[in-house]
Amino acid sequence: MNQVFSRPESLKDVQTHFCPGCQHGTIHRLVAEAMDEFGIRDRTIGIASVGCSVFLYSYFDIDVVEAPHGRAPAVATGAKRARPDKIVFTYQGDGDLAAIGTSEIIHAANRGEAITVIFVNNTTYGMTGGQMAPTTMPGQKTSTSPYGRDIKNDGAPFKMAELLSNLDGVAFSARVAVNSPKNVLQARKMIKTAFQYQVEGKGFSFIEALSTCPTNWGMNPLQANQRLADEMIPYFPLNVFKNSENL
C-alpha cells in the first residue's frame, strides 16, 4: 500500500504548544511542505518573531534566529545579505508585524529584500492574552478594547497584503486562509509560490494568512472557524494582490 500522507520532513515529530483550534499548526505545515517541495530545508534560515510564533525552532527542523519583537524583517535582511545563497523567511504575527514592526516590514519590502514573509493575522495578541491588535476588527472586543474597537479612537485595521502590494519592491503579495479544505489547498499553492519567488531569486514575497485564536476570541474551534469565514474574510478579502512574474 502507498503512503499518501505524512508529516513533512521539515517539521519535527513533536507536540506543539498551540491551543485547540489554533491554525498556526496548519500554516506551519504548509510552510514545511513548501520547503520539502523545493528541497531547501538544508539551506533555509527561519527568523522567529515574538508571540505565539516564537517557538518556530521547536517545530521546524531548520536553523533559526529569534528576532526582537517586530524586527524579524531587519534580522532577515542581515542574514540574507550576509548569506545570499540561503533561503530566509520570517514568520510573524499581527502585533509583531503590523504594530511594533511596521517600520521594519515596510522598509524590507521596499528594498525588495529577497526574503519571504509569512504573516499570520488572527486579529489579536495571542501570547499576551488577547489584547487589541492592529488588525482587530471594528467593534471587536478584546482585553484592551473592552467596548469594542472604536475606529475614531484606534484607527481602522491594517490590510497589510494590500498595503505592501503598492510598493515597487514587492514581487508577490497574497492573502490566504486555512479555515476550509478549499482554502487550505489554495493557501498551500500561494505559500509555495511565495517560496518559489525566493528560490528563483525574483524578489520579496509576502503571505498574509488569516487564522483563528479561539482561546482569546472566547470561542470554541468551530465558532472561531465560522467567525473567520463570516467576519474576517469579507473584511480581509482572499486574493493575490501582486504577482509580478505571474508565477
Partner: protein, 353 residues
C-alpha cells in the same frame, strides 16, 4: 606593508573595519559619526561587503544581529540618540551571545543634546545599556591611531568572547585628523563559528540563535556563565596606559579626549616640579581595576577628569585601595565646555599633596 595615512578618526574606524574583514555594515546618519557610513557606503562594496542605510537605528542593529547570527563580521555606528535606540538589539545580541561591533561617537545629551564632545555615555556603555543585566566590551581610543587599532581589536575580542563590543569615542576623536599607520589585521586565532545559522545539513545539529530561556534554571545558568566569561575577560584583556606614574604623588586619570588634554596638563605639572602621572584606561569594560589598585598601594591621591559630571569616577573609586583619595574635576558636556590643559593644571595644583 603598513601604509602611513593622514585621516579623520571616523575614517580610521571605517578603514580598520574593512581591514578586519567586516562583511556587513548597517547604519543611519547622525552627527558626529556620519563619516563612517559615508566612507563604508563608498568602500565596502568595492571590498565585497554589503552596506545598507537602514530605516532606523533599530533596523540597523537588528540587521547586525541577523548578519552576525549568519556567521559574518557585522557592525553599526551611531551617536547618543541613535545608540539609545540600538539598546534593544544590543540586549538581544548579548542574550543570544552574538558578536558584533558598535561604534559610539559620543555627543552631548540627554535628549537631542548637541553635537559637541561628551563622555556622558560612559555609564550607558559600561553597564550594558539595555535591559536584563549584561555587559559589553568597551574600548576607548584617545587618538586616530587607536581608532584604527581598537576597531580591529573590537572585532577580535567580540568574536573570541561572543560578547558585543563597543568602540566608545567622542566627536573630538572622531573628527580630528592625525597621521596613522594602517597596520594589517592582527593574526589572532579565533574559534570557528559553529553556532551560526547556515542551513542545517542532514546529520548536523540544529542551530538556534535566541535569547528566550524558559527552561528551569536555564536563565540562571546563562547569567553565571556570562559572569565567568566577564572574569576571564578582566583577567586577559585589561588594557591601560601609564605615563610618569613611577614616582607620582598624584595620578591624573582620564579616558579618550580628556586623557589627551590631561597629558599636556601633566607635562605642565612636571615642568613646575610636581610629581604627577597619568593613568589612562583603554578598556572601560573590563575596567583595568588592577592598575588602580596597584598604583594606589603607593600613591594615595588620584584626580579623575571627565567631560561629564562624573561617571567613570565610580569605577575609579571601586578600584583604588581604601585609603587612597579620589578627587574629581569634570564639566558637563556642552558647546565650549571642553577643559583646557591650563584648567586641568589648575586642578592638579589644587589637589596636589
Amino acid at each position: 606593508m603598513s601604509e602611513k595615512l593622514f585621516v579623520k578618526g571616523n575614517e580610521a574606524v571605517a578603514m580598520a573595519a574593512i581591514e578586519a574583514g567586516v562583511r556587513c555594515y548597517f547604519g543611519y546618519p547622525i552627527t558626529p559619526q556620519s563619516d563612517i557610513p559615508e566612507y563604508l557606503s563608498r568602500e565596502l562594496p568595492k571590498n565585497g561587503g554589503t552596506f545598507i542605510q537602514a530605516e532606523s537605528e533599530i533596523g540597523a542593529i537588528n540587521m547586525v544581529l541577523g548578519a552576525s547570527a549568519a556567521g559574518v563580521r557585522a557592525m553599526t555606528s551611531s551617536s547618543g540618540p541613535g545608540i539609545s535606540l540600538k539598546q534593544e538589539g544590543i540586549s538581544y545580541m548579548a542574550g543570544s551571545e552574538l558578536p558584533g561591533v558598535i561604534v559610539d561617537i559620543m555627543r552631548q545629551g540627554p535628549g537631542l543634546g548637541g553635537i559637541d564632545a561628551s563622555q556622558a555615555d560612559y555609564w550607558q556603555a559600561t553597564r550594558g545599556g539595555g535591559h536584563g543585566g549584561y555587559r559589553i566590551i568597551v574600548l576607548a581610543p584617545a587618538s586616530v591611531q587607536e581608532m584604527y587599532d581598537l576597531t580591529m581589536l573590537a572585532f577580535d575580542l567580540s568574536d573570541l568572547y561572543r560578547i558585543p563590543a563597543m568602540v566608545l569615542a567622542d566627536s573630538v576623536i572622531g573628527q580630528m585628523k592625525e597621521s596613522i599607520v594602517a597596520n594589517p589585521r592582527p593574526q589572532v586565532e579565533l574559534p570557528a563559528k559553529e553556532w551560526a545559522v547556515r542551513g542545517r545539513k542532514a546529520g548536523e545539529p540544529q542551530n538556534v540563535v535566541k535569547s528566550l530561556k524558559l527552561g528551569d534554571g536555564e536563565m540562571e545558568a546563562f547569567h553565571w556563565a556570562m559572569l565567568d566569561r566577564y572574569k576571564v575577560l578582566a583577567e586577559n584583556e585589561n588594557r591601560w596606559e601609564e605615563l610618569l606614574t613611577d614616582d607620582a604623588e598624584l595620578i591624573v586619570t582620564a579616558f579618550g579626549s580628556t586623557a589627551r588634554i590631561s597629558r599636556t596638563a601633566v607635562a605642565m605639572a612636571r615642568e613646575a616640579g610636581m610629581k604627577v602621572g597619568l593613568l589612562r584606561p583603554i578598556t572601560l569594560f573590563p575596567f583595568p581595576a588592577r592598575a588602580y589598585l596597584s598604583l594606589s598601594q603607593r600613591c594615595k591621591r588620584f584626580l579623575d577628569i571627565e567631560l561629564s559630571t562624573g561617571q567613570m569616577i565610580d569605577d575609579v573609586r571601586l578600584s583604588v585601595a581604601r585609603d587612597a583619595d579620589v578627587a574629581f574635576y569634570g564639566r558637563p558636556p556642552g558647546a565650549g565646555s571642553l577643559p583646557t590643559p591650563e584648567e586641568i593644571f589648575e586642578q592638579i595644583r589644587k589637589v596636589y599633596p
